[in-house]
Amino acid sequence: MRLGFLVDLDNCMGCKACEVACKAENEVPVNSWRLRVKYVDSGVYPEAKRSFTPMRCNHCENAPCERVCPVSALHYLPNGIVNVDKDRCIGCAACMMACPYGAIYMDPETNTADKCTYCAHRVEGGLEPACVVACPTEANIFGDLDEPGSHISQYIASHRDVRVRKPEKGTKPKHFYTGGGANHLEPLASKREEGPSLFNRIGTLDKIGGE
């Protein structure tokens, strides 16, 4: 079994229901995110558009975070999920230095690394991840990549524009995207100007972790 994710960016409408469901399900602290939806605006009125990109851990087959973790707090589950053992984590942040996707955060309450686990606890009980259940447009597709008949395998087989983030890093992500345009997945394809923006403040955390 090799669990994976696919987001159809053409279906995503940026409602953030997945974000909220993830926060609630996993009790993710304020200013921390396991899953977030990034908005990028482009063009000039009337030729303007807004694109939405949900981003979470890619559960790479060749995960640099797993390799660099000095105490195996980050580890593979038999179903391919890259899981975190918060009781073992020493908070060295090496995983955050290694992850090319910025998908790992330092939990300010536990002072340990944390990230999306594809809701491993729900999956173990036969449920789908919370974000999948919450998505009103079924833009989030989750399933077994090794099972040819699974929805995700068939979706990948029937779309020609399936891609992953930063394939040049050699991490073999198990999180795919289809639809959308160039500025969805490339962080440097859009300007990121620090300061107040249309919806919130674009910037960096003043403090990482807790006391």
């Binding site: 908005y39 640099p64 660099v68 972790g209």
Partner: protein, 299 residues
């Protein structure tokens, strides 16, 4: 239309309008202190043993300072390593649940073993047990070598920070150690004029080669990716440009020049100034080099 190029004409104006706050700088000056102190802590062994081999008459000087300075600075390295952990009281997990693919874990074992041997050397020096001291030299130098270069492996594992993974990083770590080791002995005051001149040469050559590598790799060469280009711009001419430039001047240019000018005639004041400048500049360069890749937006 190809979805990858569908919105290419409007990309110039693409702007992030909603996103979570990025993490920013996670590894700050504690990690800089770690790398800097380790350069001194291993450099004094690498340079000291070479000097002892070359100048047998001054063995007492090196036999005293090598373990004392080495132990103190490796202690500082370990202190800052632990202080930087968000769960510092779990440091022992490294030894109970070792993950051997992690350079951090290998480094923890190496530094622990190295500091243990240095402690034994201090003990042997204090008790004037020359036989024990001499037996400890070879294994300690071997550990000093690997303790110096493991950081390059650690940085190489940071897949998200391409600039830390440059192929010459191992050489830069070794040069930082020889630079720091020679600078430390010059500050402590080497016993003879001839030894000062030799240490000045080591300082000068280490600084010159390190500078050339930085210039070639960071300033002159085109980068292989847009991400690396972004980081190098930040380092060389962006937010960290002034710190990096000051580091290059104080850490490498001045020591290289002053060491070279003292190649024939011992100029103790100039060499000591060069030594202090080298240590200060090395800290600045290491710090800028550590911070710049962390300012890159990853998503």
């Amino acid at each position: 239309m190809d979805p990858l190029t569908a919105d290419a004409p409007v990309l110039q104006s693409a702007t992030v309008t909603l996103d979570a706050l990025h993490s920013g700088v996670l590894w700050g000056w504690y990690v800089t202190m770690n790398m800097w102190a380790k350069s001194v802590g291993t450099g004094v062994l690498l340079v000291g043993v070479a000097m002892m081999h070359r100048y047998g008459q001054s063995r007492a000087f090196y036999r005293r300072w090598m373990p004392l300075v080495g132990f103190a600075f490796i202690g500082l390295t370990l202190l800052f390593t632990v202080l930087d952990l968000h769960q510092m009281f779990r440091f022992w997990h490294m030894f109970v649940w070792p993950h051997t693919t992690s350079a951090i874990n290998i480094g923890a074992w190496l530094l622990s073993a190295y500091s243990g041997l240095l402690a034994l050397m201090v003990f042997a020096w204090w008790k004037k047990n020359d036989a024990l001291y001499d037996r400890l030299i070879v294994p300690t130098v071997v550990l000093a070598f690997f303790a110096t270069i493991y950081t390059a492996a650690l940085m190489g594992q940071a897949n998200a920070r391409e600039v830390w993974s440059m192929p010459t990083e191992t050489a830069q770590m070794l040069l930082a150690a020889t630079l720091s080791g020679s600078a430390t002995f010059l500050i402590l005051g080497s016993p003879t004029n001839e030894e000062s001149i030799s240490l000045g040469w080591v300082l000068s050559l280490s600084a010159a080669v390190a500078l050339l590598i930085f210039l070639g790799e960071v300033v002159f060469a085109p980068q292989k990716s847009e991400e690396a280009e972004y980081v190098i711009h930040t380092l060389v001419s962006g937010r960290l440009g002034a710190l990096f430039a000051a580091g290059l001047v104080f850490g490498f240019v001045l020591p290289a020049a002053l060491g070279f000018l003292s190649a024939k005639v011992n100029r103790p004041v100039a060499l000591r100034f060069a030594a202090v400048s080298a240590l200060a500049g090395l800290w600045m360069v290491k710090h800028a080099w550590l911070i710049a890749p962390q300012l890159l937006p990853l998503s």
